[in-house]
Symmetry: C2
Subunit: 347 residues, 2 copies
DNA sequence: ATGGAGCTTGTAAGCGCTTACATTTTCAGG
DNA sequence: CCTGAAAATGTAAGCGCTTACAAGCTCCAT
């Protein structure tokens, strides 16, 4: 069928230039800054581009222009709806600015994250989105040295040198804890994601402790169970909690998924929620509304955060590159899983 | 502080070569095919690499090697847990093979998908992962011409020219429909995602029709409501369904999220599930288990699919590039939302 | 010793595009 | 019709890396 044994696989800039009878520089200008080119010439070039079905070679462009227009993101895992949602918005906004998203995941492991960050930079990421602050100084130095604009997301702590678009995990959880305390709960327990290299998880637990301190209670008395992200793990955590701290009247969970686990375990153990045991979450993912009873939780504007992160990063990649932070507000969603404790035991 | 006014921003291959007193070719070989280099030389080069903190320039490498080691994926949206999960596994497996994931989303719009595919190719994607078969022939031609290995996912139909790693949506849904029929249901309704440019949604509805035909019923009598993906839309769809087809004893939904909506609406309308109305889903996402009653649905091995897709694509990118398809098995998860109809009305 | 097979290493030619600088064209004002 | 500034276009030098080809070595069978 195909008579030509070796057709030029794909047109190059030079082909277009020849076809339109102009120099390669003119073609390049037509594509990158059309205003610089005369109208008739431009028309001719564009026609040639269309006829040859020309598309610039990515590598060559990256090499010559020293930028790839791709931004990288390293997230713990897409399976967490929270990140999926935020990243989706992030990517959409990025697309609006002509940038493409390069993605990698760390599975919540610091060393893996380190690796992934370097890999993305090696892959030509012009900028980076990272989750939370926790990572080795060496990594930050590396990014600094390569001058890769980097934005922290899903967290925001004043006083940190890194620009961030996120929310104050500690303050948000503290606000919820205050409400819990106001409801009259004396025995608060907490189920948290592993706090090892996860500043967000840590901050949330700290938020509870902070609220406890405010009312003169011993923050160190807070019973905390750390378990990996997951519904089953949340169930196990609740069992463990009630075994070790049977007086518990409310379990504040580090995220909605753990809370769902707690809810299930409670039901399985014959406890009524919220009458016998109150449960709270964090994130306000869809599941929180679907739960029975619906979960009282901290609402986080994940989509908005993703969008703002993209905008901020794009701005940081621009000329000035002024890093700027943004704190997004969170708020408490009151739903059925929280009520005053039945038996207002002891002092 | 910094006394040197202009430090070389970042080391190049040539710098390393000079530092190790070898040619650039040797350094390149050390990095790409170490076996070709003598042990002592290699050690010296590696030392230089480490000392200079060298990292290859992506653009240059891509230009010279004519490949970027990145693969692109265009998915409808990450907010759908199904894709989030599959893509997560896809990315992990890709990482294991030294490839990076470039991601874009189509919001279920064909024109947007077309655009995104071209953008990813322009961004140097060496291969592509696409969801389902539905897209313009022009796009397929484009990919063919650029010889970009492309794999279809989340679907598999025999007889299609495109290689695919997925499952048979129609067969899976037909299997479930057969069970529903076996339970004695005479009035089946269906809530589906918009079938416009979504072959998966179409195939699932077709599956029900097929099962209906098999037992001699009129497939065209199936009452189908099409609504966008979402819980609220699922609720609306159920209301609409029961208004138009009040005899309905079972609603088969195109996916679990719509089913969740149906479940909620049913409860809100005072219907007991499954006694008054049975509901089924498709996908078996976490939420299906959490629902009350738990959702009877079609289990799809999303993670496994992602992993296999990555492996297949990597193989396709290799020397031979032999396209190969893979059909993954799905199975029915029997749970509480389906039971025989209460009133076995008419014939 | 000696030729040469098999390793190692070096030389240098691009890969396709951007862009600083040079050159030519255009055109308003005189 | 001339002049010079501004606009349009061209020239050509890289960008940093890979790799075909060539050259230099090592070392063993002869």
């Amino acid at each position: 069928m195909d008579t030509t044994p070796k057709e030029p696989p794909v047109a190059t800039l030079a082909d277009v230039a020849r076809h339109a009878d102009v120099s390669t520089a003119t073609v390049s200008r037509c594509l990158n800054s059309p205003a610089q080119v005369g109208a008739r010439t431009r028309a001719r070039v564009m026609k040639a581009v269309a006829e040859l079905n020309y598309a610039p070679n990515f590598g060559a462009r990256a090499l010559a222009a020293k930028q790839t227009n791709t931004v990288g993101a390293v997230i713990p895992t897409m399976e967490n709806a929270v990140f999926a949602r935020g990243i989706q918005a992030f990517q959409e906004e990025l697309g609006r600015h002509g940038k493409t998203l390069l993605i990698a995941s760390s599975a919540y492991q610091e060393t893996l994250e380190d690796e992934q960050v370097r890999a993305l930079v090696a892959r030509g990421a012009d900028a980076l989105l990272l989750i939370g602050y926790d990572r080795s100084p060496a990594l930050y130095e590396f990014l600094e040295k390569r001058s890769v604009p980097t934005l922290v997301c899903w967290a925001h702590e004043t006083g940190k040198p890194q620009p961030a678009v996120g929310f104050d995990n500690a303050a948000a959880m503290a606000a919820l804890a205050r409400q819990v305390i106001a409801e009259g709960h004396q025995h608060i327990a907490c189920i948290s994601a592993p706090m090892g290299a996860n500043d967000r998880a840590r901050a949330r637990v700290d938020g509870i402790r902070q609220a406890l301190s405010e009312v003169g209670r011993d923050p160190d008395a807070l019973f905390v169970t750390e378990v990996p992200y997951g519904i089953e793990t949340g169930e196990l955590a609740l069992e463990k909690t009630l075994k070790s701290a049977p007086d518990t009247t409310v379990v504040m969970c580090g995220n909605d998924v753990l809370a769902m686990g707690a809810l299930r375990a409670a039901r399985r153990m014959g406890l009524r929620v919220p009458e016998d045991l109150s449960v709270t979450g964090f994130d306000d993912i869809e599941i929180a509304l679907l739960a029975d009873p619906a979960l009282t939780t901290v609402h986080v504007p994940h989509r908005e955060m993703g969008r703002q992160a993209a905008r901020t990063l794009v701005r940081m990649m621009g000329r000035d590159g002024a890093p700027e932070s943004l704190v997004l507000p969170t708020d408490i969603r009151w739903r059925g899983s929280l009520c005053p404790p039945r038996r207002s035991v002891d002092a």
